[in-house]
């Protein structure tokens, strides 16, 4: 499942035009789907659209990647993942794609990106979110990444969040 979800910048740049009806569907579902036997029918009724059209549009948004996936989103703190570290790595630019994919394939990494360095203070070009039951587990997993990178690891750090200052999520208006 992991390899299939690797996406590259090329795929990113393909934006798919969404129209005003799609936006209404997005706005109505960004907080979640109705918990009823026919959720898309309930949505259709709420929006005054035919159920078939709602489902067609949602299928199209799944195919084009506007919808990444549909399902449950666990609260990782509630599941006991209290250690959440943002690990950042300085790897040679010419190897960043190859090494980023290897890190992203590790099952304890939930997000992995190539991001720009900000020299001289910020030499890191790969970001990988590492989750564990506690900080010790995160540190141990970070060591696994370091081992995987070997000589390509030219420096790394782990930043832990100390406070959530704001968390509103993304808001789309219809």
């Amino acid at each position: 499942m992991h390899a299939a979800q690797i996406k590259t910048l090329d795929a990113e740049s393909d934006t798919m035009p969404i129209d005003i009806t799609d936006r209404r569907i997005i706005a109505a579902t960004q907080a979640g789907l109705p918990l009823v036997a026919r959720p898309y029918h309930a949505l259709a009724e709420q929006l005054g659209i035919e159920p078939q059209e709602v489902m067609q549009r949602m299928n199209r948004m799944c195919e084009s990647g506007v919808i990444r996936r549909i399902g449950v989103v666990p609260n990782h703190y509630a599941l006991g993942y209290k250690g959440n570290g943002m690990s950042v790595w300085n790897v040679p630019d010419e190897r960043v794609s190859e090494l980023g994919k290897k890190i992203g394939d590790l099952d304890f990494v939930s997000h992995c990106y190539h991001r720009p360095r900000h020299l001289p203070d910020w030499p890191y070009n790969v970001f990988a979110m590492v989750h564990g039951r506690d900080r010790a587990e995160v540190e141990q997993k970070v060591r696994q990444i370091a081992d995987l990178l070997g000589d390509a690891n030219q420096g790394h750090a782990v930043l832990y969040s100390t406070k959530i200052l704001k968390k509103t999520g993304l808001r789309i208006s219809a």
Partner: protein, 147 residues
Amino acid sequence: MDAVDRAIINHLQGGFSVAERPFAEAAMTLGLSEDDLISRIGNLLEQGTLTRFGPMYHAERMGGALTLAAMKIPPAEFDHVAEIVNSFPEVAHNYARDHAFSMWFVLATETPEEIGRVIARIEHKTGHVVHNMPKMEEFFVGLRFEA
């Protein structure tokens, strides 16, 4: 949370279908009834074990833009700067982290052009540099937490 709840969390982080009776379909693979699945998801949301149930949207594919930005804020100014940064509706998440780069936030705008404008306004209002760290390549994004 019992074994059935764990199975729901482990198997339903994606793949929920777009169909007339999607809960019935998902329930069948989990060996549950449709009603049981619906009420369990409701309970898990209520308990806070799940933060959401539904489609996860991809902001950039909708024509919007996202970026991660970081600021080096001295402790004495931290709360004041956090207040200014949080006052921008384009700031979706903001975290304090234990590093000289101490403030990390996600900016979400309807168009890519707005990102630069919002950053300039934050720099102007706070008097601090905003380090823009947009993703250049995405290697993996997914939640696969085991319950």
